[in-house]
């Protein structure tokens, strides 16, 4: 097993960890300095795709990550316009991953950030995430493939960066087009340009390092390759040390955690969906943003799927609700509605179907033979 530490991965993990701490200090919600699922959901809310009043904001972090990866890939001549690898399936998988993440209340990146903040519900989520990845790995080994992508025009590859640039221009020039939360997580945010610049840097680093939250565990299991896992560990370590240094750390617990619920079964199953779906997609939500930035139009489609998934999650009331305190001081465990529970089960079944129908043994043998 390769023990060589990849310093790009560690460095970008440290940068993302510090970025999450700084963004939280400057106004982002607790344990949510950087969360791809939450922030795409906020963008879905800001653009009226859903109407949950507490999660609406045009998050410059998303815009910055995509544009940072775009600029870095153009500068390093790695920008490649590609498309055509089962786009519709990817759209649906993107939506499923998003619903799973919103059941848990965070993407894999926020899961690590929550863990570093002492939230043990995220540990339950991590267990589910690992199980989901293991299921995905079995499916990959059986011959699952979303088929190859092909060269396309540069403009097609630049779709998501251009959409994000357009979103930024509209946000700055015509903010009245958008809805902005007056209370709740959507109302809490770091100053626009601070968030944008930090995200540009993180996007560029994540592109260079191929940072991916699902890739670390996947590659360790499949190839005994720990390269990407160092990024995962670096983020956790920085967040944990940072929270202790800042006096925010109050020990490990499942109770009273910021924007989190302690409904263990659903935290677990939500992250099974995220792990499984992300392995099928070839990368976590963060990685999809970065790939879309470097010209992968299939990842752009996946990101659009995630935004639509977020809209469904809130329009149909599938997303998790945080634990809370009742007026009489009693602790109320949050979690998901009955509809949300049904959605989780249905999505798990559909993931199995998508996995099964895309297993192609013949293609693999053919390619190895040539």
């Amino acid at each position: 097993m390769s023990k060589k530490v990849n310093w790009w991965v560690v460095g970008s993990g440290i940068a993302v960890g510090i970025a999450a701490l700084v963004l939280t200090l400057m106004g982002n919600p607790k344990n949510m300095g950087f969360c791809i699922a939450c922030f795409l959901r906020d963008i879905a809310g800001a653009t009226s795709l859903h109407s949950a009043p507490v999660v609406q904001y045009v998050r410059p972090e998303i815009i910055g990550l995509v544009l940072g990866a775009f600029i870095m890939s153009v500068a390093s001549k790695e920008f490649k316009a590609k498309a055509g690898s089962s786009p519709a399936t990817r759209f649906v998988l993107g939506a499923f991953v998003m619903i799973g993440a919103l059941v848990f209340l965070g993407c894999p990146l926020r899961m690590v950030i929550r863990l570093g903040g002492g939230d043990l519900n995220a540990f339950v989520g991590l267990l589910g995430f690992v199980v989901g990845i293991l299921v995905g790995v079995v499916v990959l080994k059986k011959g699952f493939s979303l088929k190859r992508a092909y060269n396309v025009g540069k403009a097609e590859g630049a779709t998501l960066p251009m959409v994000m640039a357009g979103l930024l221009i509209l946000f700055l020039a015509a903010p009245a087009l958008f809805k902005f939360s007056e209370k709740g997580p959507g109302s809490m945010h770091a100053p626009t340009f601070v968030a944008l610049i930090i995200a540009l840097v993180c996007g560029a680093l994540a592109q260079r390092a191929r940072l991916c939250m699902v890739g670390g565990i996947r590659d360790l299991v499949m190839f005994k390759d720990a390269k990407l896992l160092y990024g995962f560990v670096a983020i956790f370590a920085v967040i944990l040390v940072g929270n202790i240094a800042l006096g925010n750390f109050t020990g490990f617990s499942t109770l009273s955690q910021p924007i989190a619920h302690s409904s263990h079964v659903w935290n677990f199953l939500g992250m099974v969906i995220v792990g499984w779906g992300s392995v099928l997609l070839g990368g976590c939500p963060l990685r999809q943003l970065i790939l879309a930035g470097e010209g992968n139009a299939d990842s752009a489609i996946t990101v659009f799927g995630m935004i639509v998934g977020a809209a469904f999650a809130h329009n149909w009331g599938l997303a998790g609700g945080a634990d809370s305190k009742a007026e009489d001081g009693a602790y109320v465990v949050g979690g998901i509605s009955e509809k949300g529970q049904i959605a989780v089960i249905v999505i798990l079944v559909l993931l199995a179907v998508i996995s099964f129908v895309n297993i192609q043994k013949a293609v693999k043998a053919e390619k190895a033979e040539v």
């Binding site: 390769s2 790695e78 490649k80 990959l140 190859r148 992508a149 190839f223 070839g282 040539v370």
Partner: protein
């Protein structure tokens, strides 16, 4: 022997290389079309005891020559 992993994203190029190396061939050619795949296939092949040389292929592709 040749593995054509062009157009495929993570981790497919490595999975296909792994599959092809199961038979312990003395040499293997792997075609990929992005730098991430070049890095990943190289890292994996080296961990399996192969030497890897990378050459530019047609268009923007890369040709990886693996040898024992």
């Amino acid at each position: 022997m040749m593995v054509d992993a062009r157009g495929l994203g993570c981790p497919m190029p490595v999975v296909m290389t792994q599959q092809a190396l199961k038979a312990s061939p003395a040499e293997l050619t792997v075609l990929v079309d992005n730098k991430t795949a070049v890095e990943n296939v190289t890292r994996f092949s080296e961990s399996q005891g192969y030497k890897v040389s990378v050459k530019p292929g047609d268009e923007d592709d890369f040709v990886l020559q693996l040898s024992k």
